[in-house]
């Protein structure tokens, strides 16, 4: 839609699985400003989420604060604005409520076609309910494959496998098994088959599927051993998500009638904002966005101008804990909790959180459990995302997180922590950034909204961002290398403050330290890494100067190592986690 210069007030809503947020932007003194926000639980019923009711409740909070009326007597949106107290000029909405697309992936090799197909699926709100192929299920019989597909009742089966001109028979066998499974299901309940494998088999696959199922053919997600091409498959899966899931949510039709632009999945809007942030920074570095909510975890990353989206549908701090316990065991969560906790206690906590998803922790133990769950969910999502970033300029070390200038943190579980150091520690433990990064907190949940507003009125998004919609959480300096012994110096650093003060710091391997650098203050860092240690300024042993900003959690030096080592003994691990919490002020 062409930008409408007459647009003044804009109401933006984000319908989440657990909470619905509403934001009002308006022109004040010639510039767009964030005026007010409201939040309310998204009502859930046996039939799914009631997003319209959630919007009315959230917008009612804005009405309460501003006195503005948004809806008329028949609950229709008043648009365009009648007066400054009645109606809005534009409305935009993002949606993450609703069920994710259920996907079954078939492929041949875990690290190749299966991994690429999983990343393609993670480009939209999806949940991979079964993987047929790879090391664990290479020996499945046809009957077992059919049983799995029929049993999981997916929305889509992604048929991957075989580089172009490569393997044929196992790929065709997968297509046959998927077709047979479809033939044994009611026509109305059959999944769509998305063929994203060996491109030379397209004709045979089309013949095999015949009219037993809807077949969509896209580019091979792994055309060669080295190349991954998931864009085509992602687009198709995003379309399927919109058609089969998002547009089916009761109330979305009403939103479409109110909005001049298409309703956008929250993650997509979030990704747009991360892309915008990348254009503002150093093109050699990347920008990372982490959005963790009650029902989903999203990682949006931009490297070399390209946006990489990784979404774990159904994995958030309210729903998905049980799935983590089942798939990875309790240790993936318990290892981040500084107190001894039994598996059944964790299970009970996950169930409680699922039953009352909007509830918050009141005690330290429950807070740690929730933050540990967030950490495990982000780590799991990073595992899927990271291989897709290989080969980008920012990825200096193949198995580590690329160098990111900025890491934006969004989502209630991390933006509403009692102490800012807690949010920072979750991100450090889960993302494990390297070099110098600024952690930014989206305290008011603006990120998806601003990404969406950019579609209606780009200027409004830019001005609202400039007006301080986000808050600096911390600047992190994380040297990487493995040549030093524990306790050896890995970095010498001078911090020159704006008031002329200079702090000299010697960082030893294993340290996690917080130096004073409050919000709205800047400092110049002079970094001298030890031989073999890299702070992202040009390689191991290369130092330099960086101007950095302060944050709520100060200036954090994380020399614990990458990948982050955790003691193998549970008691020792708890002690270590407790120490880190103490060190960071959590």
């Amino acid at each position: 839609m062409p930008e409408d210069r007459r647009i003044g007030s804009i109401l933006v809503v984000d319908c989440g699985t657990v909470m619905t947020k509403a934001l009002l932007l308006d022109r004040i003194a010639g510039e767009y400003r964030f005026v007010a926000s409201g939040e309310a639980p998204t009502p859930r019923t046996v039939d799914g989420t009631d997003i319209i009711k959630g919007i009315f409740h959230a917008v009612a909070r804005i009405s309460h604060v501003t006195g503005r009326q948004f809806f008329d007597e028949i609950d229709d949106l008043i648009s365009p604005q009648v007066t400054r107290q009645q109606g809005v000029d534009a409305f935009a909405a993002t949606v993450s409520a609703g069920e994710p697309l259920q996907v079954v992936v078939t492929g041949l090799v875990d690290d190749l076609s299966i991994s690429s197909a999983r990343r393609a699926a993670a480009g939209t709100y999806s949940q991979v309910s079964a993987i047929l192929g790879g090391e664990k299920s290479a020996n499945l019989t046809d009957e077992e494959r059919v049983r799995e597909i029929r049993g999981t009742r997916p929305d889509v089966v992604v048929l991957a496998g075989g580089i172009d001109g490569g393997a044929e028979r196992p790929v065709l066998d997968s297509a046959k098994a998927a077709t047979l499974a479809c033939a044994m299901m009611d026509r109305g309940k059959r999944p769509t088959l998305l063929y994203a494998g060996n491109s030379q088999l397209r004709r045979q696959v089309t013949e095999i599927v015949g009219d037993e199922a809807e077949l969509r053919v896209v580019e091979n997600v792994r055309p060669t051993l080295e190349k991954e091409r998931i864009w085509d498959a992602r687009q198709e899966l995003q379309t399927l998500f919109r058609q089969r899931k998002m547009h089916q949510i009761p109330g979305v039709a009403t939103l479409r009638a109110w909005s001049p632009v298409p309703i956008m999945p929250t993650a997509q809007a979030f990704g747009q904002l991360i892309q915008y942030l990348w254009y503002l920074g150093d093109p050699a570095s990347g920008v990372l966005g982490i959005d963790i909510g009650g029902g989903n975890t999203t990682i949006a990353a931009v490297f070399d101008e390209q946006l990489h989206m990784t979404i774990q549908g159904g994995l958030g701090v309210a729903f998905g804990g049980g799935r983590l316990l089942e798939e990875r065991g309790s240790e993936c969560i318990a290892c981040w909790i500084p107190e001894l906790i039994q598996e059944h206690e964790l299970e009970a906590f996950m169930l409680l959180k699922g039953i009352h998803p909007a509830s918050i922790p009141q005690t330290d133990l429950e807070l740690w459990m929730e933050q540990s769950l967030a950490c495990a969910a982000i780590r799991g999502t990073m595992e899927i995302a990271r291989p897709g970033w290989k080969g980008t300029a920012a990825q200096v070390y193949p198995d580590l997180t690329p160098i990111c200038d900025t890491i934006l943190i969004s989502g209630g579980p991390l933006t509403r922590v009692p102490r800012p150091g807690q949010a920072a520690l979750v991100i450090l433990n889960a993302v494990q950034p390297i070099g110098v990064s600024t952690l930014i907190l989206d305290r008011y949940g603006l990120a998806p909204a601003l990404g969406n507003v950019a579609a209606v009125k780009p200027l409004a998004a830019v001005e609202a961002l400039d007006a301080g919609g986000f808050t600096n959480l911390a600047t992190v300096v994380a040297p990487v290398g493995d040549t030093a012994d524990p306790g050896d110096t890995v970095l010498r650093m001078n911090v020159s403050y704006e008031d002329g003060g200079v702090l000299e710091v010697e960082v030893r391997r294993g340290d996690l330290e917080v130096l004073p650098l409050p919000l709205d203050q800047e400092a110049v860092l002079e970094l001298h890494p030890a031989k073999g240690y890299d702070v992202g300024l040009g390689g191991p042993g290369t130092g330099g100067k960086r101007q950095v900003s302060g944050g709520m959690a100060g200036l954090i030096i994380d020399a614990r190592g990458r990948p982050l080592p955790l003691p193998s003994q549970p008691a020792e691990c708890r002690g270590q986690v407790q120490q880190w919490l103490y060190d960071i002020g959590g």
Binding site: P41, V46, G98, G295, G314, H344, S359, E366, P418
Partner: protein, 353 residues
């Protein structure tokens, strides 16, 4: 702030429930009909088992030769043990059918045998009358009676008379109290803290268990039970809420319909106990609407350290308050019958309606 969750606890209300077939089928009742809880109200056929037999591999022949080896035709009914393919000669072999069914597909050296669809019968589950029928798949039933929504549940549905095995709402269930008289009954107890009563109830063929609290260590065992189990108050040594205990006690030995089905994802389903009371004039049906928190509402805390505490909202201060965890949130002051009110975040309150 609108409240996130509400638990319905009513001694007499009008209840509507949808009964849905897993596949479209035949509905056996009409709007206005009276139904009993155990009455079959609809039936359907659901897909049965199947087998894919790799005949070519089993007989050691080429896929193209399989067609000649078949002893049966596409669409034929076959029985377990029937020879469906045979290789003649000195090294002759045969493939027997592992299930009763129909040969529905052949190709690629394989044969697909699908068992006959399984009959599925949908019972009313609650006594009442039929309000509406939709698409040969869904029936809406209405009844008047007592309704208690639970906190968490396991298992499916069952119907049976309520039998109390603890005298008090805060008394743990002991296995020795479960005897033959519990056969076919729904056991009600203050709390369950060890596994023995669960095993005993299973041995005696109870129809279900309703408990105030359940030790979290018993979650796995609870999920394995052949009957529904409903936890009304929480995981741990929670007593059953007094009002619920008294309400259920008033209907001891009366028939209750219980459902342990709990959904915690994008859809929300709570376990429930329904006691139909058909001989009283039903009140006007009301849908549950989330409303605003206000003084006077009865609420229950859902998170530690006050989980399970029931009281009445006295006041909702305008400004956020700091919690033990350090979080600052809007709270309510709750009268729990002690000298001082307790302060609990609004989002951690479940409204009792």
């Amino acid at each position: 702030m609108y409240y996130a969750s509400a638990t319905k606890i009513s001694s007499f209300t009008t209840i509507r429930r949808d009964r849905v077939l897993p596949e479209p089928g035949e509905v056996l009742v009409d709007p206005g009909d009276r139904v009993e809880s155990t009455q079959v109200v609809a039936r359907a056929s659901i897909p049965g088992d199947f087998r894919i037999l790799a005949v070519g591999r089993m007989l050691g022949i080429l896929a193209s030769e399989v067609q000649h080896s078949l002893q049966t035709e596409l669409g034929s009914t076959v029985h377990r043990g029937d020879v469906i393919a045979k290789r003649e000669g000195l090294l002759g072999r045969s493939v027997s059918c592992p299930i009763d069914g129909v040969v529905t597909a052949t190709g690629g050296g394989r044969v697909l045998i699908e068992a006959k669809p399984l009959p599925f019968e949908l019972r009313a589950h609650i006594s009442g009358h039929v309000l509406a029928v939709e698409n040969n798949q869904m029936i809406t039933l209405e009844t008047a009676g007592a309704l208690v929504q639970g906190f968490w549940g396991a298992g499916e549905e069952s119907v049976g008379p309520l039998k109390f095995l603890t005298k008090r709402a805060d008394e743990p269930l002991e296995a020795r109290t479960i005897d033959a008289s519990c056969h076919g009954r729904i056991i009600v107890a203050g709390m369950i803290l060890d596994e023995e009563p669960l095993s005993r109830a299973e041995d005696i063929d109870a129809q279900g268990i309703v408990t105030g609290g359940l030790s979290p260590e018993l979650l796995s065992a609870a999920k394995q039970l052949p009957f529904p189990l409903i936890v009304t108050d929480g995981f741990g040594d929670f007593p059953m809420m007094k009002g619920v205990f008294t309400l259920l006690k008033d209907h001891e030995e009366e028939e209750a319909s219980i459902s342990g089905q709990t959904e915690t994802g994008h859809r929300a389903r709570r376990p429930e106990i329904i006691i139909p009371l058909p001989n009283r004039e039903p009140p006007v049906y009301q849908t549950q609407h989330a409303g605003e928190f206000e003084p006077g509402l009865r609420v229950r805390a859902v998170r530690a350290p006050y989980a399970g505490l029931v009281g009445t909202i006295l006041d909702i201060p305008q400004f956020a308050q700091r919690m033990e965890s350090g979080a600052r949130v809007r709270c309510a002051e709750i009268d729990v019958g002690q000298d001082k009110p307790v302060v609990i975040p609004l989002v951690n309150l479940d409204v009792l309606r």
